[in-house]
Symmetry: C2
Subunit: 336 residues, 2 copies
């Protein structure tokens, strides 16, 4: 282990988290702030850079700063670093976030999509690491549906940073239910916490509980309509996973985010539909699930391991790969 540390930033629509990191699955130090969207994007960038600078001035012994990585909600055009109509950062469309941070901070940074960083963390520090898997796909079922793809141990950004938008795959051929993305029938409308609550209001009316957590409790108590909503979640995920499994044939797909609290409710329908719909899954699914050691050449669909810190951990992990003297990520294996 060399004497270096990194700084990671997780820019969320509600909270801004900054951490110093030397490796492993914990942080050296973290700073959490509210994301003051109402004060304007320049102020948010200044708040972020002040927190980063505060950590840069700490005395971490002889450790030298390797790199600073910022995770941002997408869509993010890379390598330029320009936001394109980000739903969680209203008013930031067309904002060159990378340039704003670089000029305020006075040093180069890496900017990445937060879902991609969460996927990198799962690969390097979570399920991918425990099972020595370098290719995986993470789908995060939160307020929206996030997605990150790691191929050969590296983030797959696509040709301009827009890969990993599986939340807007079409899983229903309806034209009725318009998604904020402009499409209709998107996965996000059926498998996000927002989608789950919309279905609860549609199907339960005034009897709908006030959160996805309470809806899960209602379903577990035997309420058929509540159970049916989680069947819909499972079916939507199965249709999206059929596309991913059949085209990419990866060894590991991880589901994370708050909706995964209801894994017991949606996963039976998800696996049943997946077995029926995806013959690649049928041919490659593990017959026995040993959670300690995964069989090679099988398709595993598991819960993500890292929880809500995954994005920040991924930012830190990517920052640590930076060479001290260079703004370019080096090809060395993370962690050495």
């Amino acid at each position: 282990m060399t004497n270096k540390y990194s700084i990671g930033v997780d820019l969320g629509g509600t909270n801004l988290r900054v951490a110093a990191y030397v490796g492993g699955d914990g942080f050296l130090e973290t700073i959490s702030l509210p994301t003051r969207l109402s004060a304007g994007r320049d102020q948010v960038v200044r708040d972020m850079c002040e927190a980063v600078t505060a950590l840069m001035r700490r005395d971490y012994g002889d450790r030298k700063l390797a790199g600073v990585t910022v995770g941002s909600p997408g869509p993010l055009e890379l390598p330029l670093g320009i936001l394109r109509n980000p739903p969680n950062l209203p008013g930031w469309d067309g904002f060159n976030l990378k340039e704003a941070i670089t000029s305020t901070l006075g040093r180069e940074i890496i900017l990445e999509n937060d879902a991609n960083l969460a996927a990198l963390a799962e690969q390097q520090l979570g399920a991918g690491n425990s099972h020595r898997i370098s290719d995986l796909c993470v789908i995060t079922l939160g307020t929206g549906v996030g997605n990150g793809l790691i191929l050969g141990g590296k983030i797959w950004d696509g040709t301009n940073g827009m890969a990993g938008e599986a939340g807007h795959m079409v899983v229903r051929d309806t034209e009725d239910l318009l998604c904020a993305c402009g499409g209709s029938g998107c996965l996000e409308q059926y498998a996000s916490a927002t989608g789950v609550m919309r279905m609860a209001h549609e199907r339960l009316g005034e009897a709908a509980p006030s959160s996805a957590h309470d809806l899960a409790l209602l379903a577990r108590s035997g309420n058929e309509q509540a159970r049916g909503i989680f069947d819909t979640v499972g079916e939507a995920l199965a249709i999206a996973l059929t596309a991913l499994v059949n085209t990419l044939n990866l060894p590991l797909y991880l589901l994370g985010g708050g909706v995964c609290e209801a894994w017991d409710l949606f996963s039976p329908e998800m696996f049943q539909q997946l077995r029926r719909r995806s013959y690649v899954y049928r041919l490659t699914r593990p017959l026995v699930l040993d959670p300690v050691r995964l069989e090679a050449q099988k398709t595993y669909i598991l819960k993500a391991q890292l929880g809500s810190a995954a994005g920040l951990l991924g930012a830190c992990a990517l920052g640590l790969k930076y060479q001290l003297s260079s703004a370019n990520p080096v090809e060395e294996k993370f962690g050495d």
Copy 2:
């Protein structure tokens, strides 16, 4: 250019084609045979190996055989080389094709999915080559819907050779129309020649023409029902492409196969639906299409260039990358 040549095989359900190759987009010599499925799989393997041996015995001056690559219909489990319920090779389920060819021929071969080889050919010798693109996805609209994915200039096989089955992505949430794969609402049912003809019989009854080619003529003559079928083709492709564009963000997607004769009929609906459904496509689509030089960081959806010889060309091209002394493909760039 070194003094070597390769032998490629395209094993189809109807025809067996074998070619000797030294580079470029043509062949040194080809042998075509019927695939004698009724004589049994061992006989087909013997026929294939006899044709390969015949080409190995030819006098190609001082050229040495670099490698032999066989393209087979899938699903094909790799690296083992075992067929898994291949719809175009009935009765071959569980057959270790690689072992059978290797032992009959007495030398190592590369075995690959034919759609993946066609995609490799498009990348190395077709549209990918003319536009210097190393990441692309090819979807072939033939009797079925084939698919191959090239990432970083290499075939993406997935964890056990089953990647590239986009024909069985779900594009309709119907349960009614069962696909041979066991699923329902698969792309193949709406965008293959078989699917087009099924829709023609459903919608036109006895007035249905006898081929997809004649249906296209009928549509071009103004028949509304015939036009509507190609709109359905376009919509199904748009839903599948939305998933691929949103998750992979590749610079190039190519559509090939016989149904592409009707490009003028299905592509307007395909592009319109894609603009609406995929915001990644909206953000990255080229505003001006200059077929000679593609803009970087845009998403292009074009017709494939190579036609029905693509699979055989890809087999030859991959074979040429083989080292003379080794059964392992080397990492050198094709063509040198």
